[in-house]
Symmetry: C2
Subunit: 555 residues, 2 copies
C-alpha cells in the first residue's frame, strides 16, 4: 500500500537466536541450565554461546553458511548451547542419534559433509570408529575429515585424550564476546538437520529452517501452556526433532533447562522435586516407566507432560494423572518439527467417566495453532475422508512447521509432498467433531482375512491386562489369512500370565478376528526415542512362518 516501506525497522528474518539475546536481558540472573551440580544463568549461557560461535567460525575449517556442524551427545549443557552457538556461527547444526552405531554415524557425517563434530566423552569410541570408516571410504584428497571436538564430563577435568584434540571448554575459553553474531539472510535458510527417528531401517535427514523453528518454538510455549520462566525437565532427546524445538521455547520464556545424565524414574522424581519442575515431555515409554516405578510418589505441584511419538494407552494417561501429572497428547513427526496435532481438551469431556476420558485423550486431535492444515485423505484421490470415525485414510498436513525437505534426496522430498501436503504414512479416521485418531502407520495395519486390524487398538486392550507392562502387535504371515495378529508382551515384574490368558482377555473385549493368534513374551526392542522397533518384531514374526500352516492345517 502507498506509504509502506520494507526495511530493517519493520522486517527481520525470524530466527530463534533473538530469544537468547532477549533472555540475557529479561532473565539475566535466572538459571538457564542445570545439570547435577552445574548451573548457568541466562547471561552466562548467552556469553558462552557467543564465544563458542566465535571459535567455531575461526576454526579454519572453511565454514560458510550452510556448512554443517554435527554433534553426538546426550542432553548435556553443551548440547543445549550448541542449539544456539552453531546457528550463531552461521552454520547448520546436525544432531546425531546417540544410539547410532559407527557405521551410521559415518554415513551421516558423509551425507551432511560435516566440517566439525562435537562428541560427548562417553561416545568418543563410536565417533572415532566412524571417522576411521570415513577415512577409508573418502577417496578424494580434497575432502577433509570433520574435525573432532571433545565434550568432557561437565565440571570434571578432561579425560585423557590424544594431544591436540580440541575440547569444548577450550573453544569457549578462546572465544571472544566481540564476535558479530551471524543471522540468516533469509528466514527459510536451514538451521538444523536431524535424521528421522528410525522406525524404518533407512533414516532420512530432515532439514529445518530458522522460520520453522522460530514459529514452532513460539507455538510450543502456547501448546505447553508455559508461563514465563518454566522449569523444563529434559526427557525427550534433543537430537530427536531438536527436542520438539523446546530448547528455543525455554530461551524465549527465560526458563530453566533441567538436564539428566540418564533418564530413569529415580532421576525424574528426584529432579521434579528438587527443581520444582513445571513441564516435561516424553514418549509413552517414559510415562510407563514413571507409573510402574516403585519410587513413584504423588507430586507436590502439577507437572505438565506432553507425550507423543506413539499413542499413549488410556491406562497410562489415567495413572499419570493420578500421580499429579497433567498429560497432553500431541502427535507429529520429525518432518513436522515435532508436534503437528494436539489433543485440545474440550470442557464437555470433563464430565465423562474415567475410562471414556482417557480414551478421548488418546485421540490425536486437531492441528496445533502453528500448523496450517491437518486432514485425513484418500492418498490416491486426495479427497478428505468423511468424518464418520470409520473410514480410514492417510493423515496429511501442511504449514510453515513442515520440513524444508530431505537432505540430498529430492526424490523422497517430492514423494513426501506429492499433492501439496506432507504425507505422514500414518493411517487414521476423522471423528464427527473433526478430531483425528490414528489407526496405524500404513505398514503397521494387519490385514487378516481382508479385515484391517489396528495394531494400536489391539495393543491398548492387551495393555489394560493387569499383568502387562508393555505390548506390541505386528502381523505374522499366514498362508490362509494373509496375516494374523502376533503380540509381543513384556510382563510386569513379579506378575505372570499365559499366552492363552492374554488371547482370551482380548477375545472378551474385541471382535474375535482382532484377537492375537500368537502371544510371545519378550523385551521389546526400542529406538532411542522410546518407540518400539516394529520392523525387528516383524522380522521375528516372519521367521516364525505361517500361523495357519503350523497350527491349523495339521488339524
Amino acid at each position: 500500500m502507498e506509504g509502506s516501506i520494507r526495511c530493517s525497522a519493520n522486517y527481520v528474518p525470524v530466527t530463534p537466536i533473538s530469544f537468547l539475546e532477549r533472555a540475557a536481558v529479561a532473565y539475566r540472573d535466572n538459571i538457564s541450565v542445570v545439570f547435577g551440580d552445574i548451573t548457568y544463568t541466562w547471561a552466562q549461557t548467552h556469553q558462552r554461546c557467543i564465544k563458542l560461535a566465535s571459535s567455531i567460525s575461526q576454526l579454519g575449517v572453511c565454514l560458510s553458511p550452510r556448512h554443517v556442524v554435527a554433534v553426538l551427545a546426550p542432553n548435556v549443557p553443551a548440547m543445549y548451547e550448541l542449539h544456539f552457538a552453531v546457528p550463531m556461527s552461521g552454520a547448520v547444526l546436525c544432531t546425531l542419534n546417540t544410539r547410532h552405531d559407527s557405521e551410521m554415524v559415518s554415513t551421516l557425517l558423509k551425507q551432511t559433509e560435516a566440517k566439525l563434530v562435537f562428541v560427548y566423552y562417553q561416545l568418543l569410541d563410536i565417533a572415532q570408529a566412524a571417522l576411521e570408516i570415513l577415512s577409508k571410504t573418502t577417496t578424494t584428497t580434497t575432502t577433509k575429515l570433520p574435525l573432532l571436538v571433545l565434550i568432557s564430563e561437565c565440571g570434571h577435568p578432561s579425560p585423557p585424550h590424544a594431544k591436540g584434540t580440541l575440547t569444548y571448554e577450550d573453544l569457549i575459553a578462546k572465544g571472544t564476546l566481540e564476535f558479530e553474531v551471524r543471522r540468516p539472510k533469509d528466514e527459510l535458510d536451514p538451521i538444523t538437520i536431524s535424521s528421522t527417528s528410525g522406525t524404518t531401517a533407512n533414516p532420512k535427514s530432515v532439514i529445518y529452517s530458522h522460520r520453522g523453528v522460530y514459529l514452532n518454538a513460539l507455538v510450543s510455549i502456547i501448546l505447553n501452556e508455559m508461563r514465563s520462566m518454566p522449569v523444563y525437565l529434559w526427557c525427550v532427546p534433543m537430537f530427536h526433532c531438536n527436542g520438539w524445538c523446546i530448547p528455543w521455547s525455554i530461551a524465549a520464556q527465560g526458563g530453566t533447562n533441567v538436564c539428566l545424565s540418564s533418564v530413569t524414574a529415580e532421576a525424574i522424581f528426584d529432579n521434579i522435586f528438587r527443581h520444582k519442575v513445571t513441564h516435561m515431555g516424553g514418549a509413552p515409554t517414559i510415562l510407563n516407566m514413571i507409573i510402574n516405578s516403585p519410587l513413584r510418589k504423588p507430586l507436590s505441584g502439577k507437572v505438565a507432560v506432553m507425550t507423543g511419538g506413539a499413542p499413549p494407552p488410556p491406562d497410562v494417561i489415567f495413572k499419570m494423572e493420578n500421580l499429579g501429572f497433567n498429560v497432553t497428547h500431541a502427535y507429529g513427526s520429525t518432518e513436522a518439527y515435532g508436534p503437528a496435532a494436539i489433543n485440545a481438551w474440550k470442557p464437555e469431556w470433563d464430565n465423562q467417566p474415567r475410562d471414556a476420558k482417557a480414551k478421548l485423550k488418546t485421540r490425536q486431535g486437531v492441528r496445533h495453532v502453528g500448523m496450517e492444515d491437518l486432514d485425513v485423505k484418500d492418498p490416491h484421490t486426495m479427497k478428505s475422508v468423511p468424518a464418520d470415525a470409520k473410514t480410514i485414510g492417510e493423515v496429511m498436513f501442511r504449514g510453515n512447521t513442515v520440513m524444508c525437505g530431505y537432505l540430498k534426496n529430492l526424490k523422497a522430498t517430492q514423494e513426501a509432498f506429492k499433492g501439496g501436503w506432507f504425507r505422514s504414512g500414518d493411517m487414521g479416521v476423522k471423528h464427527p467433531d473433526g478430531y483425528i485418531e490414528l489407526r496405524d502407520r500404513s505398514k503397521d495395519t494387519i490385514i487378516c482375512g481382508g479385515e484391517s486390524v489396528s495394531s494400536i487398538e489391539l495393543e491398548a486392550v492387551i495393555f489394560s491386562h493387569p499383568a502387562v507392562f508393555e505390548a506390541s502387535v505386528v502381523g505374522r504371515p499366514d498362508d490362509y489369512w494373509g496375516e494374523t495378529p502376533c503380540a509381543f508382551v513384556k510382563l510386569k515384574e513379579g506378575c505372570s500370565a499365559t499366552a492363552d490368558e492374554i488371547i482370551l482377555f482380548c477375545q472378551n473385549r474385541l471382535p474375535p478376528f482382532m484377537a492375537p493368534r500368537t502371544v510371545l513374551f519378550a523385551d521389546l526392542p526400542k529406538t532411542s526415542t522410546g518407540k518400539t522397533q516394529k520392523f525387528l518384531l516383524r522380522e521375528k514374526a516372519k521367521a516364525m512362518g505361517s500361523f495357519f500352516k503350523k497350527n491349523i492345517s495339521s488339524l
Copy 2:
C-alpha cells in the same frame, strides 16, 4: 540446501484467518463472544464470518484486494467479527475511532478510499454527516461515496432507517458458506489500517500486515500468559491498534470475548464475576476508575490485566494488586501493533518493599519476544545511551511487529524509520540491567532553566497525594526560565487540597526546581483510549502567559 523444496506443503503466508478456522474445530462449542444476553460459539462465529465475507465480496463495490472496508463501532460482536470477515473477503479493515467527529471521519474515509463503511446505530449521525461532507468535497463523478452498512443494536430489531439501507445482519443472512475464503498472496499484504491515537492533532493512518498481526497475536498469548480458552474482558477499544491484536489471540486460543456496552467500574466488576474473566487490558485511566469505584470488591479469582498507553502510577498498581488483579505493564504504540516492550518481572524483585516493587513495575522494561530490538539512542548519532539510568535518549525499536508505514504518507514513514529503527518520539533512560524507563515524550519534557523536568516523574509524585485523583503536568512558557512546570489536577470526590499544599508536597519530595510553580484544578481532557490530551493542556498553559512575568517580575 539440496533436497529442499518450497511448496504449499511447507510454506504458507501466515494470516490470523487460520486461527478462526482452527477454533471452529478445536473449540467448536465454546463461547466465542458474549455481549449482554447475546452469545455465539466458535462454530457460529466462523460461519457468520464466512457468510459476511461472501456478502462483502458480492456487494458490487468493485472490491479487490487492498480495497478498504471501514468500521465505526464500539466493542460489539460485529466489531469483533469484522476483524476476520473483512480480511476473509480479501479487503483491508479500517477501524475508525468512535470519538472522531464527522469532519475527521470524512477525512479518513477519503484518505483510505473506503468502499464500504459499517456503522453502529448509535454513531449513525456522525457517519451520515461525514458522508455529507465527503459528497461535497468529492468533485470527480467517478469516485463513489462509500456504501453504508448499519449495525443495529444486538438482538433488537433495526431502528428506523432509510429504506434501502443495508444492514449487517442482512448481509450475514444473505451470505453463503460456500464462499472460498481469500488469503493473502504475500504475508506482508495489508490487513488493517488504524489511525494513531490522537495525542497529536493530526492522526496518521498506520498500516498493519497479515504477518505482523499473526506474530503479534501469538506473542500476545505468551505475554498475557493465556492458557487455552481464556475469558477476555474488552476494555481496550478494538479500533485502537486493533485492540493490541488480541481479537486474533483469543481466536487462536479458543477463548471467550466479553464485550461491554459501556466501560464503567460497575460493568467491569459485574462481568468479571459473571463470566469468570481471566484477562483484560486497559489504560491506567481504567485502572484508576476501578480502584476508586465505590463498587470495587476483592476478586474471587486472579485477573491478569495488561496496562499501557501511559506509565501507570505506582499507587494504582499497588491498589489494583490488593484487589486481586495481576498487573503487567506494557509499553508500545500504534506503530508497534500495540505493545513493543514489557515489564518482565524478575523473581528477585519479589523481596523488595511494597513501594519499591510498584516503582519497579512502572519501568517499561524489555522488548517483548516478538520484537527484534529495543534501545534508547541518541537520535542524532544513533548510538545507544549508557545503561546508567540517567542519560536520556529516544526510545527506538525494530522488528516484524512494526507497522508497514503511514498510508499515503511516505515522507512520514521515512522519517519514522530513519536510521533503520522506528523512532517512538518517547524519551527515556536505560537501567544497568538493560530495562528501559520512559522519562517523557520528547515534547512533554519541560526544560526549566536548562534543567529537564520529567513530567512523568512529577505526575507520579502529585498522584501520590491522598486527595489527588489524576494529575497531568505540562510546561508553561516563562520569560526567565524558558518553561516552568504547570500541573493540572483533578481531586477525588469529597477531597480537598489547595495549590500551595500540592506545591509544598512536591517540594518535600523532589529537587526544588522540579516542583510545579502553577497548580490548576480541572477535569483532564482525554483521548478515547484514555490518554490525557496534553496538547490541549499545553494550549491552556500557553494562554496563561509567562509565570515569571506575572508572579516574579512584579516583586
